[in-house]
Symmetry: C3
Subunit: 152 residues, 3 copies
């Protein structure tokens, strides 16, 4: 099965990829690496995400937002690559959680991102990762994640 | 026109690159990639930057500080590469804004960085980017940015 | 002397590397680069680290925690590479310090990380670096660091 077929089987539709600024690209290829711009979670039921984990959102809601970021990153990768099967490995993930001070469960939030990639890409989805808590994110979304893929 | 000629035409002089620590380099080349150490904005009118965006500084002042970070990164790149025309692409930018909690305009601040690169490097200046808000930065500067360049 | 011999001479034992999640690896190799998952400091005298620099911990304690992160990163590199002599260069380090707002000494904390790498790896240990202050880290540890190595 291709990653696209797995996504379809899961009932996951890739969202639209919008360009944010003429100086920015959804992703840049250099050699065998694809560096993506950070993804924020697409709207849920037509509502934008706004607020901090540990305050506005629970860990479970943060996990769901992280999962949506993974879907958004795959949409960016597909926009650049054409086919997700060109991905040979997820190399590195940096998860940045907009949270209250001292919030210690950034990994539990980020598992929503990591598990989606593992599900869709199989063993190629296993990656190096950091998960940190930050002060602020664009439009006050609860999470932003950036990924480096190895591609064929 | 070379990037150096564009800088001169804009009246931009590249600042001095100081070594911060014997274990640190302004940038490290591996293969066709140049990884730069994070840049903070050089002094403005002889005054060091100190304070947070959304408190001490407005979004417009943050934009100006971000633009100065881009000039500082180009100075670092030139110190390592000799000639800026060796840059074939700006691959990835991580912008870290020292700001008040919940500040949602980190992208608007970072546009000051991105637009300078696009102006000086042309289409090679288009890049993947994340823009986050952080709790603290060296010497309490309002912004730090790190860049990965592809080089020939 | 190999890096392992230098570590032994300094009385430094590499800690165990635990897998945190089936979707995560201690490090991922792509081409000549090794991307590591972020390291947090191993327990000190059987006590886990918990708290912020500038509040629970002094700059000197933060420096010690950063040094322990470097040892943890070397343990991860060894788990992936087998021999640390395969490291030809430390390319890039991102230090994330869990600290109070406005804490301006993140570089002084991160020197604990950088100096250990320089000591153990010699001139190959010299690297590009950023040092930022963050809102929260896994289990409220005071520091997390992620490294990119160039390998042979």
């Amino acid at each position: 099965m291709t990653p696209e077929e797995t996504l379809q089987q899961r009932g996951i539709e890739l969202p639209e990829v919008r360009s944010l600024h003429p100086a920015m690209a959804p992703g840049v290829i250099t050699g065998n690496l694809l560096y993506l711009s950070g993804a924020t979670p697409p709207d849920r039921d037509g509502q934008p995400w706004s607020g901090r984990v540990g305050e506005t959102y629970t860990v479970e809601e943060g996990y769901e937002a992280a999962r949506l970021c993974a879907i958004q990153q795959l949409a960016q990768a597909k926009a650049v690559l054409g086919e997700l099967s060109r991905i040979t490995r997820v190399v590195k993930v940096l998860g940045m959680v907009n949270c209250v001070p001292g919030f210690g469960q950034t990994p539990q939030v980020m598992h929503g991102f990591s598990e989606l990639l593992l599900d869709v890409l199989g063993e190629r989805g296993c990656h190096a990762r950091s998960a940190i808590g930050v002060q602020a994110l664009p439009a006050n979304v609860p999470i932003e994640v950036e990924t480096i893929f190895e591609i064929a």
